[in-house]
């Protein structure tokens, strides 16, 4: 059981930067003493969590959703005692451990076997516990042959598999799962999800943080939604997910998205709203504006369109050639998508060669109206079911 009561966490902006050297700290003290009469101003602070309260019963699986920076990770860090809250309190019973530290404490010089013990101990397992689960961990990670090889010689796939295997065999009373699903190849990801489902259904108390709305709804019956550090929904998962996906109803533009490549910046992505008046199955248009510090031979840009249940209905992916340094404005039209009226959200992913430099779900959201659906028999049906229908393709039954 977990009781979270009015928890808030305040970070000082630029923390860890400003006072990196003694000189700065002294300079700051001196300036503060002589030039500033009052203490630090409120503007220097950022509330990563504000007045968050919720309860989780024993054995309950609760989803935690929200956009990047909403405070999900901060919440987990407080629950695992990595960082203390600034205000409020949490009461919990049992060992709380999180799966966000996959591979933490792995030492490249140590062998796979040694790292299993080391990592297990870091995660809070006893030596006895590790010994008991050792074979299971090794089998799960599929690294039997390389047990006595230093992990620095492992492929990145093996490394991640071993790391996840240790973490997944930890048996805390309260398990906190953060986005670990994006690791390894497809087969291993499936295995990871399976393992998490096994844990989640095994009577353990689980907090499941994910951007995968389908997985959240599948595993958690209840979800909490965070936005800008505040808890804005605590409801059945389907309801919370719907709130999450529609929270940016007016958010048809996203600006200044950070990619992993400093020279490749996404200035904005915009949904052309004029399509809303155009009606059913009219082309969707998205405008992408980039700012590049150098030329890129090719970039691979993918879009995904999700319905309000979080299911991905449409994906599109295409290569853009010859991007020159400077500003680049791109536009894509998606024809014949057959999406019924409803609320949708968009994911955006950009690859440079084989390497993903950007991916985010729910970068923006948009609605499609039912203008242009002329059939009076179908119209109420589309209005009632809306985006849950997926692609809606009217057909004609013929007697044969």
């Amino acid at each position: 059981m977990i009781h979270v009561e009015h928890v808030g966490k305040r970070y000082r902006l630029g923390q860890g930067v400003r006072h990196d050297t003694l000189r700065d700290a002294i300079a700051h003290r001196v300036r503060g003493g002589f030039l500033r009469s009052s203490g630090r101003s409120e503007q220097d602070h950022l509330w990563a969590l504000k007045d968050v309260s919720f309860d989780v019963a024993e054995g309950e699986v609760v989803g935690v959703i929200g956009r990047n920076g909403a405070g999900k990770s901060t919440l987990l860090k407080i629950l695992t005692r990595i960082t203390p809250p600034t205000e409020g309190r949490v009461r919990l019973r049992g060992r709380a451990a999180s799966l966000l530290e996959v591979g933490t404490g792995f030492h490249p010089e140590l062998t796979g076997r040694e790292n299993i013990y080391m990592n297990g101990a870091i995660l809070g397992m006893t030596r006895k516990e590790i010994r008991r689960k050792f074979d299971e961990i090794v089998a799960f990670a599929e690294v039997e042959k390389f047990l006595d090889t230093p992990v620095k010689r492992y492929s990145s796939g093996m490394y991640v598999r071993l790391a996840f295997a240790v973490a997944a065999h930890l048996e805390p009373e309260i398990l906190l799962v953060d986005e670990v699903l994006a690791v390894g190849d497809a087969a291993f990801q499936k295995k990871c999800l399976g393992k998490i489902a096994e844990v989640a259904t095994g009577g353990r108390t689980v907090l499941f943080v994910s951007h995968n709305m389908a997985a959240v709804q599948q595993l958690a019956s209840r979800s909490i939604l965070l936005a800008d550090g505040e808890l804005i929904a605590d409801a059945e998962s389907s309801e919370a997910v719907a709130t999450y996906l529609s929270d940016g109803n007016q958010r048809s533009t996203a600006t200044n998205l950070k990619t992993k490549d400093d020279q490749f910046r996404i200035e904005s992505i915009r949904f052309d709203e004029s399509v809303q008046e155009l009606g059913f199955n009219k082309p969707l248009r998205f405008d992408l504006s980039l700012s590049l510090d150098r030329s890129y031979e090719t970039a691979n840009i993918g879009l995904g369109i999700y319905n309000s249940l979080g299911a991905c209905l449409v994906t599109s992916r295409s290569l853009v050639d010859g991007l020159e340094a400077g500003e680049a404005k791109l536009s894509i039209r998606i024809l014949d998508h057959h999406l019924p009226p409803g609320d949708y959200s968009l994911s955006l992913g950009i690859h440079r060669g084989m390497e993903s430099i950007y991916f985010a779900e729910n970068v923006l959201s948009f609605s499609l109206s039912d203008v242009g659906v002329s059939d009076p028999l179908i119209q109420p049906y589309l209005a009632r079911k809306r985006d849950r229908l997926g692609a809606f393709i009217p057909g004609v039954w013929e007697k044969v």
Partner: protein
Amino acid sequence: MSSKAFAAEQLIAPPTGTVPIDFRELWAYRELFGFMVWRDVSVRYKQSVFGILWALLTPLITMLIFTIIFGKLAKIPTGGIPYPIFSYAGLLPWLFFSQSMQRAALSMVAERNLLTKVYFPRLIVPMAATLAPLVDLLIASSVLFAMMFYYGLAPTPHSLYLLPLCVLWTWVTAVGVGTWLSALNVYFRDVGQLIPFLVQVWLYASPVVYPASLVPASFQWLYALNPMTGVIEGFRWALLAHGSPPGPLVLLSLSVSAALFVTGGLFFKRMERSFADVV
């Protein structure tokens, strides 16, 4: 870690004032402590060609240099003890102290990955870092006994229990200084730059290359404020019966060590709350 530590309801609340050190919790994490020491030791000897040879070479070569410069050229009086033995017996506790203290001081930043991702009592990190050099000390002391055999010197009978006590004292001092510096290093990376300098100055402020008796009597009490003065003099006295038996000045050194140890732990606990946010 016994699950007993988690059976009771835990409260996570904003820290206020001075946080006491939770010894029960430290005890519950003793296995992690052990693993960290073991990791440091095994990694240290794994990738170097000479492996444990380094633990012998460092004090040996330093001792040779000291013997040539301070023993032969400067002719520092050692009260009848061959200079190589005199300086080597000082170097052993000194190297253990300086290495432990340095490793502890840099440990929190080195383990930042762990600190930002997993909870455990943070004190484990600098404390575990101080123990790996103990292996070096044990290896290096074999040379000392070989040298004493060569010069026909026998260790005093009471060295059997006094030497381990001196090593414990060295460790307490290293932990004290190490916890202070490691907590400061999280906030001010200058500490990392400061340490080599500190070690250099501290070496010559301790009776490693010269006996403490060379220091003018009026400065003796000031000199004894350096805990390593007491440690090294005590070490030599216990092993070779060199110098005077422990007196009030050694007590002064001892109390400085104890004060560093206690305040280091308290300071560390006080700073601990924001480690994960700052490191």
